[in-house]
């Protein structure tokens, strides 16, 4: 286990981790605003990957495919929120959670019916070339693109949340929905905007994931969706920088475990093990503050 090997694993871990981070942002934003674990989020990711697949087949380049996937997923996110979650705004948490599971099943199976259950090869829209950094440490063009997409989208998100009016409204609604309503903020449209942004990020993650592992199928969102969710909890669900750190950390740990001989099958187990440990020792996540319950 040389130093070069460790750095290589770190690079690999960061590139998968940044995809988790992109998906985790959607979970965290939606949770922050309406306290819902949006189980359908992983399926928005699959829709994004398929949109990218069709766009790439139609001859669009990476950037256009990415933008198209983000637009389609953003619209899908708003539709899901309006049709399934909005009627349940004041219902018990478990009811909304079950609805989210229902939406997830619905999207997956609509996908299977319309697109077929078979995995499709993703067209090569990025030529993979490998660059040697030093010694045995390499980075390929796809990893660079994944990182670049993540960094750019994060910067845009940071700008939207902290510098724009809609971002201010989102922060206000997540802080106290009733007070925000009283202050004249349109809560419904703010929630829709949150879903649109979160889902667009999941769509982008779907495309870069499909570029990295060139294959798409309707159930591809389940495992990355769960992992991203673990990442969101790890960083502190509802906290945007937490999603980034959680995603990267999870990606690195996972790649590390996978690279140990004989341990590769335990990769998913480790992710859930981290989840349990975090929940037991620091349920609000690495970045969360403890909130005492008032009687």
């Amino acid at each position: 286990m040389t130093f070069d090997y460790l750095v290589q694993q770190l690079i690999n871990g960061i590139s998968i981790g940044s995809i988790y981070a992109l998906i985790a942002l959607g979970y965290t934003m939606v949770y922050g605003i309406i306290k819902l674990i949006n189980f359908a989020h992983g399926d928005v990711f699959f829709v994004g990957a398929y949109t990218g697949y069709f766009a790439a087949k139609a001859g669009l380049g990476l950037i256009l495919s990415l933008i198209l996937a983000m637009v389609v997923c953003g619209i899908l996110g708003v539709l899901i929120e309006r049709l399934a979650y909005k009627p349940l705004r004041n219902a018990a948490r478990i009811v909304i959670l079950i609805t989210a599971i229902g939406v997830s099943f619905l999207l997956e199976n609509l996908g299977i019916i319309t697109l077929g259950a078979q995995a499709q090869g993703f067209p090569e829209i990025v030529t993979k070339s490998t660059y040697t950094l030093w010694g045995d440490v390499t980075i390929d063009s796809i990893q660079i693109i994944v990182l670049a997409v993540t960094v750019i989208l994060m910067a845009v998100l940071q700008f939207v949340v902290h510098r724009t009016k809609i971002g201010k409204a989102m922060r206000a609604v997540s802080f106290d929905m009733e007070a925000a309503r009283l202050m004249g903020i349109n809560v419904d449209s703010t929630i829709s905007a949150t879903f649109a942004i979160g889902s667009a990020l999941a769509g982008a993650a779907g495309v870069v994931f499909a570029v990295m592992y060139p294959s798409v199928d309707p159930l591809m969102g389940i495992i990355p969706g769960l992992k991203a969710f673990v990442a969101a909890v790890l960083g502190g669900i509802g906290i945007i920088p937490g999603a980034l750190v959680g995603g990267l950390l999870l990606g690195v740990v996972e790649t590390g475990v996978q690279s140990i001989p004989g341990m590769s099958l335990w990769r998913d187990g480790v992710a859930f093990g981290i989840l349990i440990l975090i929940l037991i020792f620091k349920p609000t996540g690495l970045f969360g503050k403890n909130v005492r319950e008032k009687v």
Binding site: K35, P87, I98, I101, F105, I276
Partner: protein, 317 residues
Amino acid sequence: MNKRFFLGIAISLVFYGVVQALISGEILNDFYVDTLVMLGINIILAVSLNLINGFTGQFSIGHAGFMSIGAYVSAIMTTNLGYSFPLALICGCLAAAVAGLIIGFPTLRLKGDYLAIATLGFGEIIRIVWLNNDYVGGAAGLNGIERVTNWSWVFFLVLITVIVIQNIVKSTHGRAMISVRENEIAAEAMGINVTRYKVIAFVVGAFFAGMAGAISAHYFYGIAPGSYNFMKSFEILVFVVLGGLGSTLGVVVGTVLLTLLFTFLQDIPEWRMIIYSLILILTMIFRPKGLLGNVDVMKLFKKRGGATKNGGTTTTP
């Protein structure tokens, strides 16, 4: 143990006798027997999950994990070690109960969504342990398990499950569990040991989930880790929520309806899940408390007679 209790037992025994006669007379073919066994297993799973989720209010979505422990432990005992099925069944249930205890303690500090996620994680970890264990066949699972269970086994185990859980719920302990569900802090203030009741609910729920696992393993010949993933846990949760959290009758009705729906849509597998998920979403939007969520069947009968016990809402007949 009142008149209603014995009436219920008598009716179910008559039902058992009729079905048994139909099976012996070969009027019901294998398809129907399979469906009946499936129904029984699902009822055990749903009724036991309802003790945790519906009555104690602890949101658990790792029930398939407990089921897999019962299935694997009992299958190892009969197939690999050659013990008799009844002993294997009991050991499977106990192993699952111990797992419930182990999972119950550390996660008790968690509430609501966090508990749900933790139990989901635990369920998945149990599955991954089976998946990575060559002794139990890894991803391929265990095969060649002898078919020991039949309609009689399933029926009586369902009956025992329902009786035990109903009795817990109707007892002082059940009232304590419901008070934990309604308001933990108030329950604590009333001198109820909240932790103890949460653990009891987890252990009893897991015990019966293990039982369901053991009987399904000894009916369907083979088990594999893939069939105990979180989708299975969701499926059980859906039975409970659709029927009505905290209503044993509702849960049984919900389970029967969904299992039958699933069986009869078997020929169109692609559309089956779509119909299933649409029913789920529409029920949650239009009937969020479940089909029988706030319906008390006995009260319905009483109202019809015009005699309301609690007064206030008396309607002239």
